[in-house]
Amino acid sequence: MRGRIVAGLALLVIAAALVLALRPHEATAAERVDRITSELRCPVCQGLSVKDSPSETARQMRDLVVQRVGEGKTDAQIEDEFRASYGEWVLLAPPLVSWNGVIWAVPILALVGGVLVALRRMRAAPSDLERPTPRQLAELRERVRAEEAADA
């Protein structure tokens, strides 16, 4: 009985901790800076985000993001400022609703198309085989019989 109570209490504590950790909370300035800089491409690097790059340009971009967050700008406004200077390219993940959104759509469309073609072929396969007519069956049976007789 006592063991059950302890286990129940432990579960309750874990559940409370999970709820507390996952509760929606307002991101701190540092969290926002991290999130924005991880979504921006470093212009002088090979596929690195501004957050991960040690370059001087990335440092200057981080400083600008910190300043803009401090000024109360929204994430979208800050990203728009960089987009105005460097184009859509500066965003590591292209927005879904844009011409670059095709990048997201093409693999999904290709996958769906491939699955459809495969399913169609799998269904079509049996119908390609012609069933032998009773006459052909009879002829085959006769041939087998004759071959068996010859072997005997």
Binding site: P43, E56, T57, Q60, M61, L64, S85, Y86, G87, V117
Partner: protein, 179 residues
């Protein structure tokens, strides 16, 4: 029917890839039309490298502005400098063309020493925190922007620039009356 459809889709996909690659390879890598081209030039205000005051680019509306980002540690900047000197001398007497250099990611002392060594007589500015370069979407020096009298960025050249390209860029946006 399905086989024909699949074959057609493959042909269309290959054609699309070929056309995309053909257009991509034909693009001039010196003329990447990113964010700022065709838009009003960011109105930045920067200190002169020699400490003799401040220059606001917004005050230069009505003139053709050649804005060149440079650094002493950048070899192509050194290589393109004679062309910049020639073009500056060519338009020096005209009051409708202004050439401005913006020192990129280095100390003012180093930038100023380079400016003096290379005979750069035009206005040169310090961009200590890199805000001007970020506002213009600079990838790295040298980069040259051609700003029209209307304050709109008409062209951009990434990398080493020659005299003919500089003159063509200026004349393309210079009012006919000023030529």
């Amino acid at each position: 029917m399905a086989a024909k459809l699949v074959r057609g889709a493959i042909v269309v996909a290959i054609l699309g890839l070929v056309v995309t690659l053909a257009f991509a390879f034909r693009r001039d890598p010196h003329d990447i039309r990113t964010g700022t081209v065709g838009k009003p030039a960011p109105e930045v205000s920067l200190d002169r490298l020699d400490g003799s005051g401040r220059v606001a680019l917004g005050d230069l509306k009505g003139k053709v502005v050649v804005l060149n980002f440079f650094a002493s540690w950048c070899l192509p900047c050194t290589e393109e400098n004679p062309a910049l000197v020639h073009v500056y001398e060519r338009y020096r007497a005209s009051d409708d063309v202004v050439m401005i250099g913006v020192n990129y990611q280095e100390t003012r002392d180093n930038g100023l020493a380079y400016v003096r060594r290379m005979g750069m007589s035009w206005v040169t500015l310090a961009d200590d925190d890199g805000r001007a370069a970020l506002a213009y979407g600079v990838f790295g020096p040298p980069e040259t922007f051609f700003i029209g009298p209307d304050g709109v960025i008409a062209g951009r050249h990434i990398g080493w620039i020659d005299e003919a390209t500089l003159i063509a860029g200026i004349e393309a946006i210079r009012p006919a009356a000023a030529r």
